[in-house]
Symmetry: C2
Subunit: 124 residues, 2 copies
């Protein structure tokens, strides 16, 4: 039996950054998210809703992908890290089905507990 | 009459960073905050409360200072900036009256509108 090492917040942020720079969001969720993680959108968000649980978070990602006609590019900044939180500036430019070309920018904030992301929260 | 230039979010973040590195929080509030700005603490914060309006934000700062016996040091990271938000990692180490030496770390998130900070929100 191999004991799994519990990552520090800095280690989670570093691994997140490595995977985000590759655009590997699926691996971020599989490797770094807690099964009961929550995802919080702004209360006045026109489209996306807050959800609870990794399965619902993954479904939200798929639902969003289905609204995209063409992805033109994206970015994710190096994280700022302190205590049990880290945050990045991220965004993308995409042509959305029925909407047209759209630029999206947000601060994404992550809370870490026992080496896993338990909350993601978006500000835009 | 001199028309005042409306700062972009990046310009507000840069000026914030300059003043934060000097620890000049009063000047940050006087120069960069909107009169009706709000300050949001975590709902489960043991001590600090959310307040509305620059006067109440300044009073909250004074109230906090009164709980500090001795300040040992603090930091404020370079900001991450995108859209109408920026965020920094910040913290301090202080001896609090009746509590003892305490280390505090937080992500501070700022929303900018018409060249002024309209919301500060802390995560710890």
């Amino acid at each position: 039996m191999i004991a799994e090492k519990t990552l520090t917040t800095s280690e989670v942020a570093a691994r997140f950054n490595e995977l985000a720079k590759e655009g590997n969001w699926n691996k971020i969720q599989d490797e770094l998210f807690a099964k009961n993680a929550v995802s919080i959108e702004p209360p006045d968000s026109p489209g996306l809703k807050s959800v609870e649980g990794l399965a619902a978070i993954k479904q939200k990602g798929k639902d969003f992908e289905n609204t995209v006609e063409e992805m033109h590019g994206g970015y994710s900044s190096d994280p700022i890290v302190t205590g049990n939180h880290f945050a990045v500036a991220m965004g993308m430019e995409a042509t959305m089905k029925g909407v047209g070309r759209t630029k999206m920018d947000e601060i994404a904030l992550y809370e870490v507990k026992n080496g896993k992301i338990v909350k993601e929260q978006f500000f835009y």
